[in-house]
Amino acid sequence: MSQTSSTGVQPRTQTPRLGWLSRPRSFTDSRRFFLFFMAAPAVLYVLIVGVWPLAQGFWYSFFRYNLIRPARTKFIGLDNYIAIFEDRGARQAILNTFQFTLTSVSLQLFFGFCLAMLLWRDSRFNRIALAFLLIPATITPLVVGLIYKALLGADYGLIGYYLANAGIGPRTGLLTDSGTALWVLILIDCWEWTPLMALILLAGLKSLPADVLEAGRADGATAWQRFTLIVLPLMLPSIFLALVLRTMDAFRVFDSVFVTTGGGPNDATNTLMVLAVKEGLQFFNIGYASAIGNITILFIACMAAVLLLVVRRADVRINGK
């Protein structure tokens, strides 16, 4: 029997079955397919260097797992997490990390905003001043820590020697006293990162609609009213961005603490990252260090969520949307 149809049109030749690759696709499908392959290397990279270690860290945190004592490896459920909250030093590290983050980021926001307001007007002086102000942010925190340690040393420090001789602060130096050490670290962090905060906020200020500000002025609003009723509400997205970036960064503070105080004295400056590095890289206590890392991630995620909520609510209250 002939395969030619009565209309004389040849039936489409059956393509060999090659699976889903050979299926006819629409333009949208092809585009999606193409985009997927374009993204695949990046996705693979993130899976390998981001997701996989994260998952492994999560898994290890349920084990007593020390690289130096592999024979003693044992599944212990949530014991590593319980141990963190039972240990005085680790509890202190959590408190210190929160105190450090909240205080330093708040101070940086306040002074950063002040700096941004001062530099708002576009002038040559302001541009030059901004460039100089950003110098601290270009120095790696480890070096900043070493510089301040050298400056504040009671025996040879350019600042510490005179402070100790003048009887200001503890005799052994500001970084060696449990009452002052954390505050010094907070100030060091502020010195380094306030200019960055100012830069982010300045970018926000520069993008404010000039007509709205002009309208406010024309309507006779005072400077304070213009700041609280126009500038602040419009700046909320920039403030949120600056806060989230700095909060995440400050919460995982490590370098400056490690080289100045090492977490001491008496855990007064111990932070979660210092603790994790000590447990993981000094004692190779991988299970416990993983648990500390996971708790840090959880805290950072919670703080970001809280920040988002606060800013949303403020946005609704101020802008009414």
Binding site: L67, I68, R69, P70, R88, G89, K149, G153, A154, D155, Y156, G157, G160, A164, R171, T172, G173, L175, T176, D177, S178, T261, G262, G263, G264, P265, N266, D267, A268, K278, L281, Q282, F283, F284
Partner: protein, 431 residues
Amino acid sequence: MTKIANFRLSKTTSVLGASLLALLATTAYGQDKPLAGVTLTLASQNDQFGAVLAKLAPEFKEATGADLKVEIMDYGTLLTKTTADFVGDTKGYDLVTMDIVWAGAYAENQYSVDLTDWVKRDAAELELDDIYPVILESLGQYDGKYVAFPFAAYANVLAYRKDLFEAAGLDVPKTMEEMVADAKTLTDPAKNQYGFVANGQMGAAVAQDWMQYNSQMGGSILGADGMPALNSPENVKSLAVYKELFADTAPPGAIEYDWGGREESFRQGIAAMMQTWSVGAPGYSDPAISNVVGKVGIATAPVGEGVAPEYGVGGWGMAINADVDAKQQEAAWTFIKWLVSKPIHKEFNLDGAGSFMRISQMTDPDLLAKFDFLPVIATTYENGNGDYRPRIPEYPEIQDILGSAVNAVLSGAVEPQAALDEAQAKAEELF
């Protein structure tokens, strides 16, 4: 017939001929140099010996044909990198300088080659009788097996300022009680002059120095049962004295000093007395780094009244990575034997390694001419104790626990009894 005068080698033939000659030369060289073509990588602590090891590398190549790459790093980095190399089986290092206190961990985890049979086989070549028994035992052995071979021994000694002691009419302290009294007498903050200096920095620095003083005052980290006894009455008392010494007689910044800071303060002339490892002693007479040239005396460390004279011994052994293949292991052993051989080890010390360990070195005229304190080191080794810091697998954690506790006491944040009680509770969890 081709005339000889007209015989000319083609270019290819010339190259082949030259290559053959070069190959023959290499073979001959290889026969002369049994380790030709071998490269040994050594992870070294950045003590004085590190630079000298690197300096000796060409000489080792000349003797054996092997290349020696020396990677020098600080204490923490050395521990982290080598441990990672061992546990990851990455064979990054053939040879590792092993601190005396890591022996337990090395033995328990079999990180290094057990050298016991090789040491027995080559005993005559190593001239074991010429090495102090305390050094052989504590710098190399653990439970009777050689996990490393000693190459850099240090004696804990008292470095003191002869000029200040003479001016004050004081004799060199023989007991800890005399040392505390002298330190107070020699302290005058108005002149930026302090009687004593020791490590105060949190971590290994303060822990190791305090363990030394603690041992001299009759304290002990482990009890008779081998379990931690950190809060024993003797330890609490010695920590209280240590705190008093820091508060009344040490430079204000001493609480931040590690070994380098402590030595620096002594060389700068701020401190009158310091217990230290003998390895630092050559530096006091070096005008490039010292303000106290010719003013420093070295004596045996004081001990507590009624405590049997036992002096601290420390230092480093050379371990061979158990993961590397047999050929590398044997080459590494050749290097160790070469390094500790009498002439090379003498040269090693003359070059400033400060790592004396052979009995014959203590009376060697060349060494004595340069290092007049060798008799003090000899006395220390003859009555040496290498176990005042327990060389057990749990030592790194115990050291860290003590490092935090002692530093907290020195900072005034907590009292000795409370700090050592908490430290004891933490240490017990390790066992």
